[in-house]
């Protein structure tokens, strides 16, 4: 992305707004039970917060916020959280992804509630990591200014 001097306002607003977008994205992920939201939507907003800084303030400055190398590992970590929740449920006696068998305190509906929450966090991280990785990979070979 080419930088010009009159981008100061855009860069400053983007850098200031990005953390608040991330907070709202976390809210969307965790509040998916009670309002429109959930893992996919929150993850996309997280990715939007990161890509906003990349677009507005330049790639090199954005590396300080979220380095390029973190994208795919974050995506893999999200998928492994998802799979891990299901596999722990399998190890504890249920079928795959049967949250009632997770080793948590509380009644079965409460355990299922928490299980879905873990899944959604995994999905959110995965979507965020992969969308940012796609953006970074698409711009990898561009001419630098």
């Amino acid at each position: 992305m080419m930088r010009r001097d009159d981008d100061v306002i855009i860069g400053l607003v983007a850098r200031t707004a990005s953390p608040f977008i991330m907070i709202f994205a976390l809210y969307v992920i965790f509040h998916g039970h009670y309002s429109p939201g959930g893992g996919f939507q929150g993850g996309t907003m997280l990715a939007a917060a990161l890509i906003l800084v990349r677009l507005a303030a330049g790639d090199d400055l954005a590396q300080l916020q979220f380095p390029r190398a973190w994208g795919t590992p974050l995506g893999s970590a999200g998928v492994l959280i998802y799979w891990g929740t299901g596999f722990v449920a399998m190890l504890c006696g249920g079928n795959f992804l049967d949250y009632a068998f997770l080793p948590l305190a509380g009644a079965a509906p409460h355990r299922r509630n928490l299980g879905i929450l873990f899944i959604e966090v995994g999905v959110g991280l995965a979507v965020c990591g992969i969308l940012t990785a796609i953006y970074d990979d698409l711009l990898e070979g561009r001419p630098r200014d």
Partner: protein, 497 residues
Amino acid sequence: MTWIWNNSPALPVVLLLPTAIAIPLFALIDRRLARALALAVSLTTAGLGVLNLAKVLAYGPVHYHLGGWPPPIGIEYVLDELSAFVLLVINTIAFLVLVHAKTPVERELPDAGKHVPYYAVAVLMLCGFNGIVVTGDFFNLYVWLEIASLSLYGLIAVGARKAPVAAFRYLILGTIGACFYLLGLGFLFTMTGTLNMADLKAILPAVAQEPAVAVGLGLIAAGMGLKMALFPLHGWLPDSYTYAPSASSALIAPLGTKVGAYVLVRVLFFIFGVGAATRAFPLTTLIGWLGAAGILYGSILAMAQRELKRMLAYSSIAQVGYIGLGIGLANPLGLIGAVLHVMNHAAMKALLFLVAGNFRTVLGHSDIGRFDGSVRRRMPWTTAAFAVGALSMIGIPPLAGFFSKWYLALGAVARGQWIFLAVVLVSSLLNAVYFFRVIERLYLAKSEAGENAPGTDAPPSMLVPVLVLAAALVGLGLFNAVIVNGVLERIVNAALF
């Protein structure tokens, strides 16, 4: 141990998915762990395939409820004879090809940084194939189908210089096919209100008169026809199989089109039944005629090719035509022929593409025009295995390929479809033409190099899978009665005609 037994329907997918994610992470420790992990998980799923087939043959269909939710609320994995059979075929062939893949990957992917992601994407594709075969929910099938397809596009694109263009064309056409499937599923879901396969089968008689159901079935058949490269929806296949790296061709040629054929058989014979499927429109007859056209088209064009992989690609179009013909006959013998051909063609095409990989690695090319006797003297085992595979494709008893054509011919006679019978017989002659062309060059052509051919045959990691598959073709042929009576008869008894 009982844990493995109880969870065996889901275990192939549950093991393959994290391995695909974990391979890049483990490869940070040691690069060779990538291939080792891929081989380990592939061998495990092949073993699970045997376990699942034994379980289904002993106890009947197995239902596994994901998340503990009963269907039709939850997603379930269903193992019946057809799923277990196709699962075993896919996993065994995949293991043999992954064993072979070591040297071709190193030779044909010059960028060493791509080797580890290659194995990860290959395992992810296997995970997708396993999911397609095991699932009992239509939308879950769409998700696994797209996972497998996206991995396929990636595996093709790292090949020759023209590979990304072939992969892009396959991407556009493959996504159209998946979108047709999704749209057809949308019609069926709107009319019946359920996505579960067994539940849809139960509700279907109440709504079978509606035109929306017929259109939905037609769209699903069109989408799966595109995925299995049924003529005339085969346009993506020749370039993709030719320009892909040798290891990818050997992975996707035997398996990629078979899962599309599996879904088509499942929907036409086990969910709808032939009677309901052909009520509004003679769908199975159309598939049969398109299969016959594909057989002739593929065989004739294969004769005109100068390069081995492209010839095998057109041959694949013809072989998928056989499966389409078997589906189109819509009687028990035809269905046996089609499902048997799924297994036989997977083994035969895997063998032939592995042999092409051997030629490419050792000789540097696979142009038929440049084969001569020195190739046979240098690579006697590979050439012999190629001869076995070629004879099986032509349909010489007692090799495996003869028996699937035999059942297709019997099915055609039972229906009085003499044109289909003629197509099966004529195509064997056409197969003989283009395979004997290669065998003649290998065994009879004089070479300028003289008696002493320099160099040796392919390394053991490439020779052993080839020889195992060649022996398997002989074994599958000799023992085909066991397979037909033990497994395929039960599949056909469960189907609706």
